[in-house]
Symmetry: C2
Subunit: 291 residues, 2 copies
Protein backbone atom coordinates (compact mmCIF):
# COMPACT_ATOMS: atom_id res chain seq x y z
CA UNK A 1 0.00 0.00 0.00
CA UNK A 2 1.34 3.42 -0.89
CA UNK A 3 2.01 5.80 2.01
CA UNK A 4 -0.75 8.37 2.29
CA UNK A 5 -3.29 6.23 0.44
CA UNK A 6 -5.95 4.85 2.74
CA UNK A 7 -8.05 1.75 2.24
CA UNK A 8 -9.09 1.29 5.86
CA UNK A 9 -12.71 1.97 6.83
CA UNK A 10 -11.29 3.97 9.77
CA UNK A 11 -9.80 6.57 7.46
CA UNK A 12 -12.24 9.44 6.80
CA UNK A 13 -12.19 11.34 3.52
CA UNK A 14 -12.59 15.12 3.20
CA UNK A 15 -16.34 14.82 2.78
CA UNK A 16 -16.85 12.36 5.63
CA UNK A 17 -18.73 12.95 8.81
CA UNK A 18 -15.62 14.30 10.58
CA UNK A 19 -14.78 17.28 8.44
CA UNK A 20 -11.96 18.41 10.74
CA UNK A 21 -10.01 15.27 9.79
CA UNK A 22 -7.95 17.28 7.28
CA UNK A 23 -6.05 18.65 10.26
CA UNK A 24 -3.96 15.53 10.68
CA UNK A 25 -2.84 14.18 7.32
CA UNK A 26 -0.71 11.55 9.07
CA UNK A 27 -3.73 9.49 10.03
CA UNK A 28 -3.88 7.47 6.78
CA UNK A 29 -1.71 4.71 5.38
CA UNK A 30 -0.67 3.16 8.70
CA UNK A 31 -0.46 -0.58 9.07
CA UNK A 32 1.45 -1.04 12.33
CA UNK A 33 -0.19 -0.96 15.75
CA UNK A 34 1.75 2.21 16.65
CA UNK A 35 0.34 3.90 13.59
CA UNK A 36 -3.12 2.61 14.45
CA UNK A 37 -2.81 4.11 17.92
CA UNK A 38 -1.70 7.38 16.36
CA UNK A 39 -4.66 7.23 14.01
CA UNK A 40 -7.07 6.55 16.87
CA UNK A 41 -5.62 9.46 18.83
CA UNK A 42 -5.98 11.71 15.76
CA UNK A 43 -9.60 10.61 15.30
CA UNK A 44 -10.30 11.24 18.98
CA UNK A 45 -8.70 14.68 18.71
CA UNK A 46 -10.75 15.43 15.58
CA UNK A 47 -13.93 14.25 17.27
CA UNK A 48 -13.17 16.38 20.37
CA UNK A 49 -12.57 19.39 18.14
CA UNK A 50 -15.90 18.91 16.34
CA UNK A 51 -17.77 18.39 19.62
CA UNK A 52 -16.18 21.45 21.23
CA UNK A 53 -16.97 23.50 18.10
CA UNK A 54 -20.65 22.51 18.16
CA UNK A 55 -20.82 23.22 21.89
CA UNK A 56 -19.43 26.74 21.29
CA UNK A 57 -21.69 27.22 18.27
CA UNK A 58 -24.77 26.19 20.26
CA UNK A 59 -23.71 28.56 23.05
CA UNK A 60 -23.33 31.35 20.46
CA UNK A 61 -26.80 30.66 18.99
CA UNK A 62 -28.47 30.51 22.43
CA UNK A 63 -26.71 33.64 23.74
CA UNK A 64 -27.68 35.58 20.60
CA UNK A 65 -31.30 34.49 20.91
CA UNK A 66 -31.37 35.47 24.60
CA UNK A 67 -29.84 38.90 23.79
CA UNK A 68 -32.54 39.66 21.19
CA UNK A 69 -35.29 38.40 23.52
CA UNK A 70 -33.93 40.53 26.38
CA UNK A 71 -33.63 43.76 24.37
CA UNK A 72 -37.22 43.28 23.10
CA UNK A 73 -38.49 42.51 26.61
CA UNK A 74 -36.68 45.55 28.11
CA UNK A 75 -38.28 47.93 25.62
CA UNK A 76 -41.74 46.31 25.88
CA UNK A 77 -41.81 45.88 29.64
CA UNK A 78 -40.15 49.10 30.87
CA UNK A 79 -40.07 51.51 27.90
CA UNK A 80 -43.69 51.25 26.68
CA UNK A 81 -43.28 49.17 23.52
CA UNK A 82 -42.85 50.18 19.88
CA UNK A 83 -44.21 52.59 17.27
CA UNK A 84 -42.88 54.51 14.23
CA UNK A 85 -44.26 57.99 15.00
CA UNK A 86 -41.25 60.07 16.12
CA UNK A 87 -42.03 59.43 19.82
CA UNK A 88 -39.89 57.60 22.38
CA UNK A 89 -41.72 54.47 21.22
CA UNK A 90 -39.95 54.90 17.88
CA UNK A 91 -36.63 55.30 19.69
CA UNK A 92 -37.25 51.87 21.25
CA UNK A 93 -36.67 50.28 17.83
CA UNK A 94 -33.08 51.63 17.92
CA UNK A 95 -31.62 49.25 20.55
CA UNK A 96 -33.70 46.32 19.26
CA UNK A 97 -32.61 46.75 15.63
CA UNK A 98 -28.95 47.49 16.45
CA UNK A 99 -28.61 44.52 18.83
CA UNK A 100 -30.44 42.19 16.41
CA UNK A 101 -28.68 43.39 13.26
CA UNK A 102 -25.25 44.74 14.12
CA UNK A 103 -24.45 42.23 16.89
CA UNK A 104 -26.47 39.00 16.94
CA UNK A 105 -27.30 38.33 13.28
CA UNK A 106 -23.86 39.73 12.35
CA UNK A 107 -22.23 37.26 14.76
CA UNK A 108 -24.27 34.37 13.32
CA UNK A 109 -23.25 35.41 9.78
CA UNK A 110 -19.58 35.74 10.76
CA UNK A 111 -19.25 32.17 12.08
CA UNK A 112 -21.17 30.59 9.19
CA UNK A 113 -18.04 29.31 7.42
CA UNK A 114 -16.81 27.66 10.61
CA UNK A 115 -19.66 25.10 10.68
CA UNK A 116 -17.95 21.81 9.68
CA UNK A 117 -21.16 20.43 8.09
CA UNK A 118 -20.78 23.02 5.29
CA UNK A 119 -17.19 22.08 4.41
CA UNK A 120 -17.89 19.09 2.19
CA UNK A 121 -20.04 21.28 -0.02
CA UNK A 122 -19.29 23.88 -2.67
CA UNK A 123 -18.45 27.23 -1.11
CA UNK A 124 -20.40 29.57 -3.42
CA UNK A 125 -23.90 29.01 -1.96
CA UNK A 126 -22.42 29.62 1.52
CA UNK A 127 -20.74 32.79 0.25
CA UNK A 128 -24.10 33.98 -1.08
CA UNK A 129 -25.77 33.10 2.23
CA UNK A 130 -23.01 34.93 4.15
CA UNK A 131 -23.43 38.01 1.92
CA UNK A 132 -27.24 37.78 2.22
CA UNK A 133 -27.19 37.52 6.02
CA UNK A 134 -24.76 40.44 6.21
CA UNK A 135 -26.97 42.52 3.90
CA UNK A 136 -29.91 41.82 6.21
CA UNK A 137 -27.75 42.94 9.17
CA UNK A 138 -26.89 46.14 7.31
CA UNK A 139 -30.56 46.85 6.49
CA UNK A 140 -31.56 46.28 10.15
CA UNK A 141 -28.72 48.57 11.32
CA UNK A 142 -29.73 51.35 8.90
CA UNK A 143 -33.36 51.02 10.05
CA UNK A 144 -32.08 51.23 13.64
CA UNK A 145 -30.25 54.46 12.78
CA UNK A 146 -33.37 55.83 11.03
CA UNK A 147 -35.36 55.16 14.21
CA UNK A 148 -33.06 57.31 16.35
CA UNK A 149 -32.58 60.04 13.70
CA UNK A 150 -36.38 60.40 13.25
CA UNK A 151 -36.86 60.51 17.02
CA UNK A 152 -34.17 63.19 17.44
CA UNK A 153 -35.50 65.23 14.50
CA UNK A 154 -39.06 65.11 15.86
CA UNK A 155 -37.77 66.37 19.23
CA UNK A 156 -35.37 68.90 17.61
CA UNK A 157 -32.46 67.18 19.36
CA UNK A 158 -29.10 67.30 17.55
CA UNK A 159 -27.87 64.04 16.03
CA UNK A 160 -24.44 62.48 16.38
CA UNK A 161 -23.01 64.41 19.30
CA UNK A 162 -22.24 61.69 21.87
CA UNK A 163 -19.22 59.38 21.80
CA UNK A 164 -21.69 56.47 21.59
CA UNK A 165 -23.14 57.93 18.38
CA UNK A 166 -19.68 58.61 16.90
CA UNK A 167 -18.60 54.99 17.49
CA UNK A 168 -21.96 53.65 16.29
CA UNK A 169 -22.04 55.62 13.03
CA UNK A 170 -18.38 54.80 12.26
CA UNK A 171 -19.11 51.09 12.89
CA UNK A 172 -22.11 51.09 10.53
CA UNK A 173 -20.12 52.98 7.86
CA UNK A 174 -17.22 50.52 8.19
CA UNK A 175 -19.69 47.64 7.96
CA UNK A 176 -21.24 49.06 4.76
CA UNK A 177 -17.74 49.43 3.26
CA UNK A 178 -16.81 45.92 4.35
CA UNK A 179 -19.94 44.50 2.74
CA UNK A 180 -19.38 46.35 -0.54
CA UNK A 181 -15.67 45.40 -0.69
CA UNK A 182 -16.57 41.81 0.26
CA UNK A 183 -19.12 41.47 -2.56
CA UNK A 184 -16.78 43.14 -5.08
CA UNK A 185 -13.76 41.10 -3.97
CA UNK A 186 -15.26 37.66 -3.38
CA UNK A 187 -18.38 37.44 -5.55
CA UNK A 188 -17.80 39.48 -8.71
CA UNK A 189 -16.46 37.30 -11.56
CA UNK A 190 -13.87 39.91 -12.57
CA UNK A 191 -12.12 39.78 -9.17
CA UNK A 192 -8.75 37.99 -9.62
CA UNK A 193 -7.72 35.16 -7.29
CA UNK A 194 -4.58 37.04 -6.19
CA UNK A 195 -6.77 39.90 -4.95
CA UNK A 196 -9.03 37.43 -3.09
CA UNK A 197 -6.05 35.86 -1.33
CA UNK A 198 -4.79 39.31 -0.34
CA UNK A 199 -8.23 40.45 0.76
CA UNK A 200 -9.26 37.41 2.82
CA UNK A 201 -7.22 38.00 6.01
CA UNK A 202 -8.08 41.73 5.91
CA UNK A 203 -11.79 40.87 5.49
CA UNK A 204 -11.70 38.40 8.41
CA UNK A 205 -9.82 40.83 10.66
CA UNK A 206 -12.04 43.77 9.72
CA UNK A 207 -15.13 41.60 10.34
CA UNK A 208 -13.97 40.79 13.88
CA UNK A 209 -13.10 44.46 14.50
CA UNK A 210 -16.56 45.59 13.36
CA UNK A 211 -18.18 43.15 15.80
CA UNK A 212 -15.96 44.48 18.62
CA UNK A 213 -16.91 48.06 17.72
CA UNK A 214 -20.61 47.09 17.66
CA UNK A 215 -20.27 45.74 21.20
CA UNK A 216 -18.50 48.98 22.25
CA UNK A 217 -21.37 51.01 20.76
CA UNK A 218 -24.04 48.80 22.37
CA UNK A 219 -22.53 48.93 25.87
CA UNK A 220 -22.05 52.70 25.79
CA UNK A 221 -25.61 53.05 24.41
CA UNK A 222 -27.24 50.87 27.10
CA UNK A 223 -25.24 52.68 29.81
CA UNK A 224 -26.31 56.08 28.40
CA UNK A 225 -29.97 55.02 28.06
CA UNK A 226 -30.13 53.76 31.66
CA UNK A 227 -28.63 57.03 32.96
CA UNK A 228 -31.18 58.95 30.85
CA UNK A 229 -34.30 57.12 31.96
CA UNK A 230 -33.38 56.25 35.56
CA UNK A 231 -32.73 59.68 37.02
CA UNK A 232 -36.18 60.25 38.58
CA UNK A 233 -37.02 59.65 42.24
CA UNK A 234 -34.62 57.79 44.52
CA UNK A 235 -36.29 54.37 44.25
CA UNK A 236 -35.99 54.44 40.46
CA UNK A 237 -32.55 56.09 40.22
CA UNK A 238 -29.91 54.02 38.40
CA UNK A 239 -27.69 54.07 41.51
CA UNK A 240 -30.38 52.26 43.55
CA UNK A 241 -30.32 49.45 40.96
CA UNK A 242 -34.05 49.00 40.27
CA UNK A 243 -35.11 45.93 38.30
CA UNK A 244 -34.80 47.76 34.95
CA UNK A 245 -31.19 48.71 35.76
CA UNK A 246 -30.32 45.15 36.74
CA UNK A 247 -31.98 43.86 33.57
CA UNK A 248 -30.22 46.41 31.32
CA UNK A 249 -26.84 45.76 32.91
CA UNK A 250 -27.34 42.00 32.53
CA UNK A 251 -28.23 42.49 28.86
CA UNK A 252 -24.95 44.40 28.45
CA UNK A 253 -22.97 41.58 30.08
CA UNK A 254 -24.74 39.00 27.88
CA UNK A 255 -23.85 41.00 24.76
CA UNK A 256 -20.20 41.09 25.82
CA UNK A 257 -20.19 37.33 26.45
CA UNK A 258 -21.88 36.71 23.06
CA UNK A 259 -19.22 38.86 21.35
CA UNK A 260 -16.40 37.01 23.11
CA UNK A 261 -17.84 33.60 22.12
CA UNK A 262 -18.11 34.70 18.45
CA UNK A 263 -14.56 36.11 18.49
CA UNK A 264 -13.29 32.91 20.14
CA UNK A 265 -14.89 30.80 17.39
CA UNK A 266 -13.43 33.08 14.70
CA UNK A 267 -9.93 33.06 16.19
CA UNK A 268 -9.63 29.28 16.74
CA UNK A 269 -7.33 28.06 13.96
CA UNK A 270 -8.59 24.46 14.31
CA UNK A 271 -12.11 25.51 13.43
CA UNK A 272 -11.26 27.35 10.21
CA UNK A 273 -12.71 26.07 6.95
CA UNK A 274 -10.02 24.23 4.93
CA UNK A 275 -8.51 26.26 2.08
CA UNK A 276 -10.82 26.49 -0.92
CA UNK A 277 -10.34 24.30 -3.95
CA UNK A 278 -9.27 26.36 -7.00
CA UNK A 279 -12.71 25.90 -8.61
CA UNK A 280 -14.32 27.63 -5.62
CA UNK A 281 -12.20 30.73 -6.13
CA UNK A 282 -13.54 31.38 -9.61
CA UNK A 283 -17.05 32.63 -10.21
CA UNK A 284 -19.77 30.32 -11.47
CA UNK A 285 -23.48 31.20 -11.46
CA UNK A 286 -25.40 29.47 -8.68
CA UNK A 287 -27.38 27.20 -11.03
CA UNK A 288 -24.17 25.63 -12.31
CA UNK A 289 -22.96 24.72 -8.81
CA UNK A 290 -22.56 21.10 -7.77
CA UNK A 291 -24.69 21.67 -4.69
Amino acid sequence: MQPGVCSSPRCPSASDSFPLSHLDPAECGSETSVDQQKQERAEFSTMSSVVSFYFSYLLCLCLGFVCVACVCYWNSQWRGGFAWDGSTLQFNWHPVLMVSGLVVLYGYGAVLYRVPLTWGQNKLPWKLLHAGVMLLCLVLSVLGLCAVFNFHNAKHTPNLYSLHSWIGICTTALFAMQWAVGVAGFLLPCSPMALRKLLKPVHVWMGASILSLSIVACISGINEKLFFVLRGNTTQAYASLPSEALFGNSLGVLLVVFGLVVLMILSNQKWQRPESRPEDMTYRPLLQEDN
Copy 2:
Protein backbone atom coordinates in the same frame (compact mmCIF):
# COMPACT_ATOMS: atom_id res chain seq x y z
CA MET B 1 26.19 21.36 -0.21
CA GLN B 2 23.38 19.70 1.76
CA PRO B 3 19.89 20.98 1.14
CA GLY B 4 18.78 23.28 3.92
CA VAL B 5 22.35 24.13 4.93
CA CYS B 6 23.32 27.65 3.95
CA SER B 7 26.80 29.01 3.39
CA SER B 8 25.79 32.08 1.39
CA PRO B 9 26.16 35.52 2.99
CA ARG B 10 22.62 36.22 1.75
CA CYS B 11 21.15 33.57 4.03
CA PRO B 12 20.27 35.03 7.44
CA SER B 13 20.46 32.94 10.59
CA ALA B 14 17.89 33.04 13.41
CA SER B 15 19.85 35.69 15.25
CA ASP B 16 20.51 37.87 12.21
CA SER B 17 19.16 41.29 11.53
CA PHE B 18 16.06 39.92 9.76
CA PRO B 19 14.50 37.85 12.50
CA LEU B 20 11.37 37.13 10.44
CA SER B 21 13.47 35.01 8.07
CA HIS B 22 12.32 31.84 9.85
CA LEU B 23 9.03 32.23 7.99
CA ASP B 24 10.39 30.86 4.75
CA PRO B 25 12.62 27.84 5.34
CA ALA B 26 12.98 27.34 1.57
CA GLU B 27 15.26 30.31 1.21
CA CYS B 28 18.52 28.45 2.01
CA GLY B 29 20.50 25.89 0.10
CA SER B 30 19.68 27.13 -3.40
CA GLU B 31 22.35 27.22 -6.07
CA THR B 32 20.37 27.77 -9.27
CA SER B 33 19.28 31.20 -10.48
CA VAL B 34 15.60 30.28 -10.00
CA ASP B 35 16.33 29.48 -6.38
CA GLN B 36 18.29 32.71 -6.02
CA GLN B 37 15.31 34.65 -7.34
CA LYS B 38 13.08 32.80 -4.86
CA GLN B 39 15.55 33.64 -2.11
CA GLU B 40 15.61 37.32 -3.09
CA ARG B 41 11.81 37.41 -3.14
CA ALA B 42 11.73 35.76 0.29
CA GLU B 43 14.25 38.30 1.64
CA PHE B 44 12.22 41.15 0.16
CA SER B 45 9.04 39.71 1.71
CA THR B 46 10.83 39.35 5.07
CA MET B 47 12.15 42.91 4.86
CA SER B 48 8.67 44.23 3.99
CA SER B 49 7.20 42.32 6.92
CA VAL B 50 9.77 43.78 9.34
CA VAL B 51 9.26 47.31 7.99
CA SER B 52 5.46 47.04 8.18
CA PHE B 53 5.75 45.65 11.72
CA TYR B 54 7.91 48.55 12.90
CA PHE B 55 5.56 51.03 11.20
CA SER B 56 2.59 49.50 13.09
CA TYR B 57 4.59 49.33 16.32
CA LEU B 58 5.59 53.00 16.03
CA LEU B 59 1.95 53.89 15.34
CA CYS B 60 0.93 51.91 18.43
CA LEU B 61 3.54 53.68 20.61
CA CYS B 62 2.58 57.14 19.31
CA LEU B 63 -1.18 56.54 19.63
CA GLY B 64 -0.74 55.26 23.19
CA PHE B 65 1.36 58.29 24.15
CA VAL B 66 -1.23 60.66 22.61
CA CYS B 67 -4.07 58.88 24.49
CA VAL B 68 -2.31 59.31 27.85
CA ALA B 69 -1.45 62.94 27.06
CA CYS B 70 -5.06 63.65 26.03
CA VAL B 71 -6.67 62.08 29.11
CA CYS B 72 -4.28 64.05 31.36
CA TYR B 73 -4.94 67.27 29.43
CA TRP B 74 -8.74 66.75 29.56
CA ASN B 75 -8.73 66.37 33.33
CA SER B 76 -6.27 69.23 33.90
CA GLN B 77 -7.82 71.69 31.43
CA TRP B 78 -11.56 71.13 31.90
CA ARG B 79 -11.97 69.12 35.15
CA GLY B 80 -9.76 71.15 37.51
CA GLY B 81 -6.71 68.89 37.88
CA PHE B 82 -5.83 66.24 40.44
CA ALA B 83 -5.87 65.59 44.19
CA TRP B 84 -6.36 62.60 46.55
CA ASP B 85 -8.91 64.06 48.97
CA GLY B 86 -12.26 62.42 48.13
CA SER B 87 -13.29 65.36 45.92
CA THR B 88 -13.99 65.36 42.16
CA LEU B 89 -10.27 66.11 41.79
CA GLN B 90 -9.61 62.62 43.16
CA PHE B 91 -12.12 61.17 40.68
CA ASN B 92 -10.00 62.71 37.89
CA TRP B 93 -7.29 60.15 38.62
CA HIS B 94 -9.75 57.41 37.63
CA PRO B 95 -9.79 57.98 33.83
CA VAL B 96 -6.07 58.83 33.80
CA LEU B 97 -5.01 55.68 35.65
CA MET B 98 -7.40 53.35 33.82
CA VAL B 99 -6.42 54.66 30.36
CA SER B 100 -2.71 54.61 31.24
CA GLY B 101 -2.74 51.21 32.99
CA LEU B 102 -5.54 49.06 31.60
CA VAL B 103 -5.28 50.26 28.00
CA VAL B 104 -2.03 51.94 26.93
CA LEU B 105 0.64 50.26 29.08
CA TYR B 106 -1.30 46.99 28.80
CA GLY B 107 -1.22 47.32 25.00
CA TYR B 108 2.54 48.04 25.06
CA GLY B 109 3.10 44.99 27.29
CA ALA B 110 0.95 42.75 25.09
CA VAL B 111 2.92 43.42 21.88
CA LEU B 112 6.32 43.11 23.58
CA TYR B 113 7.00 39.58 22.26
CA ARG B 114 6.20 40.70 18.71
CA VAL B 115 9.26 43.00 18.48
CA PRO B 116 11.66 41.10 16.15
CA LEU B 117 14.74 42.62 17.83
CA THR B 118 14.00 40.50 20.94
CA TRP B 119 13.78 37.17 19.08
CA GLY B 120 17.47 36.37 18.87
CA GLN B 121 17.73 36.60 22.63
CA ASN B 122 16.74 34.29 25.47
CA LYS B 123 13.03 34.54 26.22
CA LEU B 124 13.12 34.54 30.04
CA PRO B 125 14.18 38.20 30.57
CA TRP B 126 11.40 39.24 28.15
CA LYS B 127 8.92 37.07 30.04
CA LEU B 128 9.95 38.81 33.26
CA LEU B 129 9.64 42.21 31.58
CA HIS B 130 6.20 41.25 30.21
CA ALA B 131 5.08 40.09 33.69
CA GLY B 132 6.58 43.24 35.28
CA VAL B 133 4.87 45.63 32.83
CA MET B 134 1.56 43.79 33.33
CA LEU B 135 1.97 44.00 37.13
CA LEU B 136 2.49 47.76 36.79
CA CYS B 137 -0.70 47.92 34.66
CA LEU B 138 -2.58 46.01 37.35
CA VAL B 139 -1.31 48.32 40.11
CA LEU B 140 -2.31 51.42 38.08
CA SER B 141 -5.75 49.92 37.43
CA VAL B 142 -6.32 49.11 41.10
CA LEU B 143 -5.23 52.66 42.04
CA GLY B 144 -7.69 53.93 39.40
CA LEU B 145 -10.46 51.89 41.03
CA CYS B 146 -9.45 53.17 44.50
CA ALA B 147 -9.76 56.75 43.19
CA VAL B 148 -13.37 56.27 42.13
CA PHE B 149 -14.35 54.16 45.18
CA ASN B 150 -12.94 56.81 47.59
CA PHE B 151 -14.73 59.56 45.65
CA HIS B 152 -18.06 57.68 45.76
CA ASN B 153 -17.67 56.80 49.44
CA ALA B 154 -16.87 60.43 50.35
CA LYS B 155 -20.04 61.52 48.50
CA HIS B 156 -22.10 58.57 49.85
CA THR B 157 -22.77 57.47 46.28
CA PRO B 158 -23.24 53.72 45.75
CA ASN B 159 -20.43 51.89 43.97
CA LEU B 160 -20.73 49.48 41.04
CA TYR B 161 -24.23 50.18 39.84
CA SER B 162 -23.71 51.26 36.19
CA LEU B 163 -23.05 48.93 33.28
CA HIS B 164 -19.73 50.78 32.81
CA SER B 165 -18.69 49.84 36.35
CA TRP B 166 -19.80 46.21 35.92
CA ILE B 167 -17.73 45.83 32.75
CA GLY B 168 -14.79 47.70 34.30
CA ILE B 169 -14.65 45.66 37.51
CA CYS B 170 -15.04 42.36 35.61
CA THR B 171 -12.21 43.40 33.27
CA THR B 172 -9.87 44.23 36.17
CA ALA B 173 -10.77 40.97 37.94
CA LEU B 174 -10.15 38.97 34.75
CA PHE B 175 -6.83 40.81 34.30
CA ALA B 176 -5.75 39.96 37.87
CA MET B 177 -6.62 36.29 37.25
CA GLN B 178 -4.82 36.33 33.91
CA TRP B 179 -1.71 37.78 35.53
CA ALA B 180 -1.72 35.22 38.38
CA VAL B 181 -2.34 32.27 36.02
CA GLY B 182 0.33 33.66 33.64
CA VAL B 183 2.97 33.85 36.38
CA ALA B 184 2.04 30.40 37.75
CA GLY B 185 1.89 28.81 34.30
CA PHE B 186 4.85 30.40 32.52
CA LEU B 187 7.31 31.46 35.24
CA LEU B 188 7.05 28.96 38.12
CA PRO B 189 9.64 26.15 37.77
CA CYS B 190 7.11 23.46 38.71
CA SER B 191 4.85 24.28 35.73
CA PRO B 192 5.15 21.41 33.20
CA MET B 193 5.80 22.15 29.51
CA ALA B 194 2.57 20.36 28.47
CA LEU B 195 0.59 22.79 30.62
CA ARG B 196 2.46 25.77 29.11
CA LYS B 197 1.65 24.62 25.58
CA LEU B 198 -1.99 24.19 26.52
CA LEU B 199 -2.10 27.53 28.32
CA LYS B 200 -0.38 29.70 25.70
CA PRO B 201 -3.22 30.12 23.15
CA VAL B 202 -5.72 30.66 25.98
CA HIS B 203 -3.40 33.28 27.55
CA VAL B 204 -2.99 35.11 24.21
CA TRP B 205 -6.72 35.02 23.46
CA MET B 206 -7.67 36.09 26.98
CA GLY B 207 -5.11 38.92 26.80
CA ALA B 208 -6.69 40.27 23.61
CA SER B 209 -10.19 39.91 25.11
CA ILE B 210 -9.17 41.84 28.24
CA LEU B 211 -7.87 44.70 26.07
CA SER B 212 -11.16 44.73 24.13
CA LEU B 213 -13.12 44.81 27.40
CA SER B 214 -10.90 47.67 28.67
CA ILE B 215 -11.78 49.66 25.55
CA VAL B 216 -15.49 48.89 26.07
CA ALA B 217 -15.21 50.12 29.69
CA CYS B 218 -13.27 53.27 28.68
CA ILE B 219 -15.70 54.30 25.92
CA SER B 220 -18.78 53.80 28.11
CA GLY B 221 -16.98 55.67 30.92
CA ILE B 222 -16.00 58.68 28.79
CA ASN B 223 -19.54 58.80 27.33
CA GLU B 224 -21.05 58.67 30.84
CA LYS B 225 -18.67 61.31 32.20
CA LEU B 226 -19.42 63.74 29.35
CA PHE B 227 -23.19 63.32 29.90
CA PHE B 228 -22.65 63.93 33.65
CA VAL B 229 -20.56 67.09 33.40
CA LEU B 230 -22.04 68.67 30.25
CA ARG B 231 -25.68 69.02 31.23
CA GLY B 232 -25.58 72.66 32.36
CA ASN B 233 -26.62 75.64 30.25
CA THR B 234 -27.26 75.28 26.53
CA THR B 235 -23.82 76.45 25.36
CA GLN B 236 -22.09 73.85 27.53
CA ALA B 237 -24.56 70.98 26.97
CA TYR B 238 -23.09 67.83 25.44
CA ALA B 239 -25.54 68.07 22.52
CA SER B 240 -24.12 71.48 21.52
CA LEU B 241 -20.66 69.86 21.23
CA PRO B 242 -18.52 72.32 23.22
CA SER B 243 -14.75 71.97 22.98
CA GLU B 244 -14.60 69.56 25.96
CA ALA B 245 -17.15 67.26 24.28
CA LEU B 246 -15.22 67.29 21.01
CA PHE B 247 -12.00 66.60 22.91
CA GLY B 248 -13.51 63.76 24.98
CA ASN B 249 -15.12 62.15 21.92
CA SER B 250 -11.82 62.39 20.03
CA LEU B 251 -10.02 60.75 22.96
CA GLY B 252 -12.55 57.90 22.75
CA VAL B 253 -11.95 57.46 19.02
CA LEU B 254 -8.17 57.50 19.58
CA LEU B 255 -8.49 54.79 22.25
CA VAL B 256 -10.50 52.63 19.85
CA VAL B 257 -7.91 53.12 17.10
CA PHE B 258 -5.10 52.29 19.56
CA GLY B 259 -6.92 49.10 20.60
CA LEU B 260 -7.45 48.06 16.98
CA VAL B 261 -3.76 48.64 16.14
CA VAL B 262 -2.68 46.51 19.14
CA LEU B 263 -5.16 43.74 18.24
CA MET B 264 -3.99 43.88 14.61
CA ILE B 265 -0.36 43.43 15.71
CA LEU B 266 -1.34 40.54 18.01
CA SER B 267 -3.43 38.77 15.36
CA ASN B 268 -0.89 38.97 12.51
CA GLN B 269 0.56 35.45 12.23
CA LYS B 270 3.66 36.72 10.39
CA TRP B 271 4.65 38.87 13.34
CA GLN B 272 4.51 36.15 15.98
CA ARG B 273 7.68 35.23 17.83
CA PRO B 274 9.07 31.91 16.53
CA GLU B 275 8.32 28.88 18.74
CA SER B 276 10.51 28.75 21.83
CA ARG B 277 13.51 26.47 22.01
CA PRO B 278 12.97 23.70 24.60
CA GLU B 279 15.48 25.32 26.98
CA ASP B 280 13.31 28.46 27.07
CA MET B 281 10.30 26.45 28.26
CA THR B 282 12.03 25.28 31.42
CA TYR B 283 12.75 27.59 34.32
CA ARG B 284 16.21 28.93 35.00
CA PRO B 285 16.94 31.80 37.41
CA LEU B 286 17.67 35.10 35.66
CA LEU B 287 21.34 35.18 36.67
CA GLN B 288 21.98 31.91 34.88
CA GLU B 289 20.54 33.19 31.60
CA ASP B 290 22.70 33.66 28.51
CA ASN B 291 21.53 37.27 28.18
